[in-house]
């Protein structure tokens, strides 16, 4: 095992390996494009143009990255303890439902209170949802990947039931949706930008998660559990509590993403909430190697790829699935480059 005397070097090492993996996946993707008759350089240029080539493109990218930052935490935080949770989608949906319920429960309160209530409700709902998977793992040994997957489907079914039944807004005849939270309670754009405040929520959440994981006792204990469960138990760490807490916090982040989608974009809960932000968040978490700070640029990368999808379609007459293929390749390359961590001589030490 290679030891990096400086945290800085470890981070640079990780970043450069990830960068190399991404470059390699782009090369592979370029081969794929050539084989299927497209012009790889043209496509890369379009990706760049659509994602980072102008202020408009950047805003588009950041906007799409915002929910990903939050849902990625849902996978990244429990992953630090060695769990693989894929329940971001379900937590997002539950968060959205709870946010609308909170807004409806406070019809006359001032907007700031309603927004605060919605945030709280979204986080609590998401936290409970994923926390349930964590509890099942901690106390019953139920595999958290499968349970969080099942909870995703259950959340979708619950949402459908609610918006066609108890929470249905009869005015929305053409599309089953819940009641609107009220225009005054919507989250606006950051002044001077065309991006809503959800971006800030995402940034703050990632920084907070990073601080939590690396500068607090909780974080230290959690990472110990992730390193070696048995040793952690022997050391007397409360493993079940740590497990559940990590899941609750991760779920709260995804639930907040749901609240943001409702409060900043749609104003209501409907099937428009189920667009795969949870699943893409899993990708972001893994590409960022479960590091909350790295999630920010990774979410921007994936947000950028998605942002450029439209331009790729239009300019090159390629199907929208093109970006799916690219994401899959990047994800795979990052995963298989895992063992390379620590091999690059550039970041090793040499005796003086």
């Amino acid at each position: 095992m290679v030891v990096f005397a400086g945290k800085w070097h470890a981070a640079a090492n990780a970043a450069s390996i990830s960068a190399v993996a991404i470059v390699a996946s782009m090369a592979l993707f370029g081969v794929f494009l050539t084989l299927s008759g497209a012009n790889p350089f043209g496509v890369f240029e379009s990706i760049y143009r659509g994602a980072f080539g102008s202020w408009f493109a950047w805003q588009n990218t950041l906007q799409l990255a915002a929910p990903l930052m939050l849902t990625a935490l849902c996978t990244a935080l429990p992953a630090r303890l060695g769990m693989i949770v894929i329940g971001g989608e379900g937590a997002l949906i539950m968060g959205g439902i709870a946010a609308v319920a909170a807004a409806l429960a406070l019809p006359h309160a001032p907007a700031s209170s309603v927004i605060a209530a919605m945030m709280l409700a979204g986080m609590v709902a998401g936290g409970i949802w994923v926390g349930l998977a964590g509890a099942l793992r901690a106390y019953r040994g139920v595999n958290e990947t499968i349970s969080s997957l099942l909870l995703n489907y259950i959340a979708i079914a619950l949402m459908n039931h609610l918006v066609t039944g108890p929470m249905r807004d009869p005015e929305m005849v053409n599309r089953p949706s819940s009641w609107h939270i009220g225009d005054a309670n919507m989250i606006r754009s950051i002044p001077g930008m065309d991006v809503h405040w959800g971006l800030v929520f995402g940034l703050v959440a990632c920084v907070a998660a990073f601080v939590l994981m690396y500068s607090t006792v909780f974080g230290f204990a959690a990472r110990m559990v992730g390193g070696n469960v048995r040793a952690a138990r022997t050391a007397g760490l409360p493993v079940p509590m740590l497990t559940i807490t990590a899941c609750i916090i991760g779920g709260a982040a995804a639930g907040l993403a749901g609240m943001v989608e409702v409060a900043a974009v749609h104003g209501r809960v409907s099937s428009s909430l189920v667009v795969g932000y949870g699943y893409t968040g899993i990708l972001v978490a893994f590409i960022a190697r479960q590091n909350p700070l790295a999630i920010v640029p990774t979410a921007a990368l994936l947000g950028g790829i998605n942002a450029s999808s439209g331009l790729i379609q239009r300019t090159h007459d390629l199907p929208d699935a093109t970006v799916l293929v690219m994401q899959g390749i990047i994800f795979l390359m990052i995963l298989v480059s895992e063992p390379l961590f620590g091999r690059f001589a550039l970041f090793q030490r040499e005796p003086v």
Partner: protein, 309 residues
């Protein structure tokens, strides 16, 4: 059109039965494939991507060559390739098989949609069915008893797999690799190779499951074809405690459950529709909770899997 006597309430069990067979067959194949893979100690979540890729390639090949059975074979082959990719990626040190599975799910689905665009419109020759209802006067009964040959392949495959797992040396090797890699290695088995073969066979079966969807029921290729059947199969395998025969029965159960909704509506029951949809997932979750335990592994869990532990 001959005797069409409305069945009324009898329509429901008939629909559930034929739906169980029709909608359950893809589950049979994917779950048997996943069962084998998991028995050898790996979870392959990428089977969703393999299923979709299999569906697309089967449809495409059938359209281009006119032979649906060739399409089935190619679907299996594409599944083998994706399975091999999964096995290779997972065999590298420190790589997590669940993450690789998700990556392959994204990749497989994306690739299938990408290559499958030209095949959404055209009609490809589908797989034929064997008529088991020739004795009936009711055209509905006859239609319900039209069973595809692949169902019978699955019917035979399940007990065959079970027998092979517990009565052959190869089966022993697979189970050893799945229960304890160290023990298997000390017995002289090459664990990685066993897992590679199991995952490849698993991918083959999942690809065939996809072919069934696009070439028989619903018998069409489009991007909404799979509603998570591949992922559900993973849950299904756990539900069935890694027993191939229980996998077969559970597949029929899940298949029947998806047919119940429309069938009930056709006799007038319409409310709570979405909650019905959640039933299989809730059932699986409850079952997992009931049978898992913190201390002991769920009975039948392959030890290396990390599930139920």
């Amino acid at each position: 059109m001959d005797n069409v006597i409305p069945l009324g309430w009898w329509g429901v069990p008939l629909a559930v039965l034929s739906g169980a067979i029709r909608a359950g067959t893809p589950f049979i194949f994917v779950s048997l494939g996943e069962c084998l893979t998991e028995k050898s100690g790996r979870i392959n979540l990428g089977l969703e991507g393999t299923l979709v890729m299999g569906a697309m390639s089967a449809y495409g090949i059938s359209y281009l060559t006119g032979s649906p059975w060739l399409g089935v074979l190619v679907a299996g082959a594409s599944g083998m390739v994706l399975g091999a990719l999964h096995a290779w990626a997972c065999s590298r040190p420190q790589v997590n098989d669940i993450a690789v599975g998700i990556a392959l799910m994204v990749f497989g689905t994306g690739l299938a949609f990408y290559l499958g665009k030209p095949f959404v419109q055209p009609q490809a020759p589908g797989l034929p069915a064997i008529d088991f209802g020739w004795w009936s006067n009711h055209s509905q009964v006859r239609a319900a008893l039209q069973v595809n040959a692949l169902f019978f392949v699955g019917l035979v495959l399940a007990p065959l797999m079970r027998w092979a797992l517990y009565n052959t040396r190869w089966g022993l090797a697979v189970r050893a690799a799945g229960d304890s890699a160290d023990a298997a290695q000390s017995l002289g088995y090459r664990v990685d190779r066993i897992r590679l073969i199991s995952t490849v066979i698993g991918g083959f079966l999942a690809g065939i499951g996809g072919a069934f969807l696009s070439l028989y029921f619903p018998g069409s290729w489009n991007e909404g074809l799979s509603s998570g059947q591949g992922l559900m199969a993973v849950a299904l395998v756990i539900f069935a405690r890694w027993d191939p025969i229980l996998c077969f029965l559970a597949s029929l159960l899940f298949g029947g459950a998806s047919a119940i909704g429309p069938a009930l509506q056709s006799v007038g029951i319409t409310s709570g529709y979405y909650l019905f949809n959640a039933a299989p997932y809730v059932l699986t979750l409850l079952l997992m909770v009931a049978t898992s335990s913190r201390r002991r592994l769920m009975k039948g869990t392959p030890g290396e899997l990390g599930v139920g532990k």
